[in-house]
Amino acid sequence: MQEKELKIEKIRNGTVIDHIPSGMALKVLKILNIDENIKTTVSIGIHVMSKKSGFKDIVKIEDRYLASKEIAKIALIAPNATVNKIKDYEVVEKYNVVPPSEIAGIVKCSNPACVTNANEPVVPEFYVISTDPIRIKCKYCEREMEREDIIQHII
């Protein structure tokens, strides 16, 4: 790793989510339920020059490691992201994200006539029917949604 690439201070322990499509970092935070109640430091790089391809976003979360379920959710909007586990300033594990086979309560159905958009006591649920490109299908109304639609409907 080139030290000069690091615009943000190094973290001792925590998680670096790298290679997020440019502009999607805030959505990633949303998917991870990182909001104003956060207790640890989170640094966000938006539109950072990437060595591999154009620009990217990057998120660094101190003192938190992600569960495999959380890592899977990231794949819905950032299919090429990598999740790096940092211990004592070093990357000790690196994962490619893989979408889950089903999701619940993360994305709203884009069909306005869907029963999950009415005032009913259910969370929207989807089958992931294709991963590359990502495609999900509402378990209720069977509407299919693609990446752009998914991004716009993250709860």
Partner: protein, 305 residues
Amino acid sequence: MLKGKDITTIRDLSKKEIFEIFEVAKEMVPIAKGKSIDLLRGKILATLFFEPSTRTRFSFETAMHRLGGDVISFADPKTTSISKGETLADTIRIVDSYSDVIVIRHSYEGAAKLASKFADHPVINAGDGAGQHPTQTLLDLFTIWSNLGKIENLNIGLLGDLKYGRTVHSLALALADFGANLYMISPKGLEMPEHITREINEKIKIKKSENLLSVIGDLDVLYVTRIQKERFPDINEYLKIAGSYRIDLSILEKAKKDLIILHPLPRIDEISPEVDYTPHAKYFEQAFNGVPVRMAILSMVMGVR
């Protein structure tokens, strides 16, 4: 075994289960014609039609009565607690506690699926908005099967507005599953949507045509749907299209002797009344078949067949 099963989409049923339904429906035909029996005596069907319906509702209720069961329903959804702001989920929980099986039609897509989550008893979808209507698909398939003895390898033409009618979408998918050869005959702009043809193409080849005359001689089944005026900005365009898709005796001169014609009804003028008196016309039988098919489904999900 369909006992206890919800039927919210045709995909809830395997091919084997669909054939089982056909066999039972066949036995139900004479009973549906008037020889009522006691198979469902003491059972209660709740019909929740939040959207208007005549054929579907009548045929479910007739089916239940012919089998000796009882029916509860509301006359007008505007007078129900839902209109007072109760959730569908709560309505279902309560009606479920009063009955043995629920049939629901609702404007929300996925409403039957939701109902099935909150009901312990089986839920049957009688149409959810522009969504699924699986018992219609089953009676369409049954009418083909009972007339022609099979579905596989038949040449089946779907005619008219293939874009907006979701029931014709689920029918097309089901026919593809059964290995029929599909001919899609629709005017420009009203073709079957891409996501459906993509799924069908994974199973079978589709023939597309704008012209009925050029394919009618190939067909074993012609399934006619309504072309709605509202789909055309120009009334003359509509009249021209509607005219060229109208089924009359002269176009039937080119048809196979055994061709059967189906239509989900109501028809407006897609099929000329003179066709009603030909052996091709099976649409009234198709509407009647709603009763034995729904008798089969009701008795099977309640575990008495």
